[in-house]
């Protein structure tokens, strides 16, 4: 339930609908955002996500709740959805 601590739970609030197709769609959208920071997210067997940067660093994350904090670590900077540059890059 918690955006930061959702790892404790299997059913993160933001991932309750959509099933397998929803998960694929979600990964695609997240990658539109992460691309701005040089990161990429992959789905691993529909159970966890694997986050990668261009230098080969990777992190396994359980859900959206913990994804963004890990992504900020890999990117070495905060990931802010209100950042005008990110908004422009999303088109």
């Amino acid at each position: 339930m918690c955006a930061l601590c959702g790892v404790l739970l299997n059913d993160h609030w933001a991932e309750q609908d959509g099933g397998r197709r929803g998960r694929i769609f979600r990964v695609g959208l997240v990658n539109r955002v992460l691309g701005h920071y040089g990161l990429e997210l992959g789905d691993w067997a529909g159970r966890v996500y694997v986050l990668r940067d261009r230098k080969g660093h990777a992190a396994v994350v359980d859900n959206l709740g913990v994804l963004w904090a890990e992504a900020a670590k890999l990117a070495g900077r905060p990931l802010d959805p209100l950042d005008p540059e990110l908004i422009r890059s999303l088109g």
């Binding site: 955006a3 601590c5 609030w13 609908d17 769609f25 959208l29 963004w68 959805p81 209100l82």
Partner: protein
């Protein structure tokens, strides 16, 4: 699974009259079969057969996020109450009221109710009630956080100071809460516990949201149907980036169903969204109220719109 037992969280700053309110409420016949958990036995005596006292014990989880810390004392007590009820060792109860200390942050309690595995399967957070006294108002950051988390705001001590100005400020700070008055704790339980708890309207912006120590309510309205996946991606990212500044988020979302999706969160802690059968009024636009610091409704709308567009393209 058996129906979950509703839990009401009663919070409010030191001396704001929450124990007086609780004592009066419990004397009402309608409040029978209520178990009460308090942190401290105050000056106002509560005579109740199912009164339990706990010592506040907070377990801060590894990531150091305070709002997501687990209140082990509360989880233990709720599990114990459940076991005793099942074994017939305590009188049956159909509601639990948890009274917090005056300086308690409501978020860890909400988190405990939503995340502790046994607790969340047997109990559900019904609503958060916060008392604010008309004499002192919102006098500390804790009382602002408590008022922001509330679904019902009870203005107390209206006999000592005019409650009107405070009610106006509270309405501006937390436009999603219903405000009621109670002097000497006198209030019918229906004013707090009655009605459909999900159907209280989330108001559209009225431009009158005043600031309280840097905390302000911001209403975001979205005309088009929202893609739920895009919204979830956006809000999780927003809370990760700005979560320390967001005290509350509550909204009704048009996700293409006949009724709206109810979203409700306290700091980082977001309730599982609920599909409602109908809208509370004729306004069927998505609207979300953010209560927090250093937020800008225009920037939030632009950002959300960009995520929704990206989901379509």
């Amino acid at each position: 699974m058996a129906e979950k037992t509703p839990v009401t969280l009663l919070t409010g700053f030191l001396g704001s009259g929450k124990t007086t309110l609780l004592a009066r409420l419990l004397s009402h016949p309608q409040m029978g079969e209520t178990a009460v958990i308090v942190n401290e036995l105050g000056e106002v005596a509560i005579d109740h057969h199912l009164l339990r006292r706990v010592d506040e014990r907070t377990v801060v989880l590894g990531n150091g996020c305070v709002c997501c810390s687990l209140r082990g004392d509360l989880a233990d007590e709720l599990r114990d109450l459940l076991g005793r009820r099942d074994r017939g060792e305590v009188p049956p109860f159909r509601r639990v009221v948890v009274e917090t200390t005056g300086v308690a942050d409501p978020a860890p309690i909400v988190y405990t109710l939503l995340s502790e595995p046994v607790v969340r399967h047997h109990f559900e957070l019904e609503r958060v009630i916060a008392t604010v006294d008309a004499v002192h108002g919102l006098r500390a950051p804790e009382s602002v956080a408590q008022a922001a988390a509330a679904d019902r705001l009870v203005v107390t001590k209206g006999d000592l100071a005019s409650p009107g100005p405070l009610e106006k400020r509270l309405s501006a700070l937390n436009p999603t809460a219903r405000i009621v008055e109670a002097s000497f704790g006198e209030l019918e339980p229906d004013a707090l516990f009655g009605g459909d708890r999900h159907l209280h309207a989330v108001p559209p912006p009225d431009g009158g949201h005043a600031e309280h120590g840097g905390v302000q309510a911001h209403s975001v309205v979205f005309e088009e149907q929202l893609d739920w996946t895009a919204f979830g991606v956006w809000l999780t990212m927003l809370l990760a980036a700005r979560g320390a500044d967001v005290l509350r988020v509550k909204g009704l979302l048009d996700v293409g169903a006949p009724g709206p999706l109810l979203l409700n969160g306290v700091q980082h802690v977001v309730h599982p969204p609920i599909h409602l059968e109908r809208w509370p009024d004729s306004d069927h636009r998505s609207r979300i109220v953010f209560i927090g610091r250093d937020l800008d409704a225009g920037a939030l709308e632009l950002s959300l719109a960009a995520f929704v567009r990206a989901a379509r393209s």
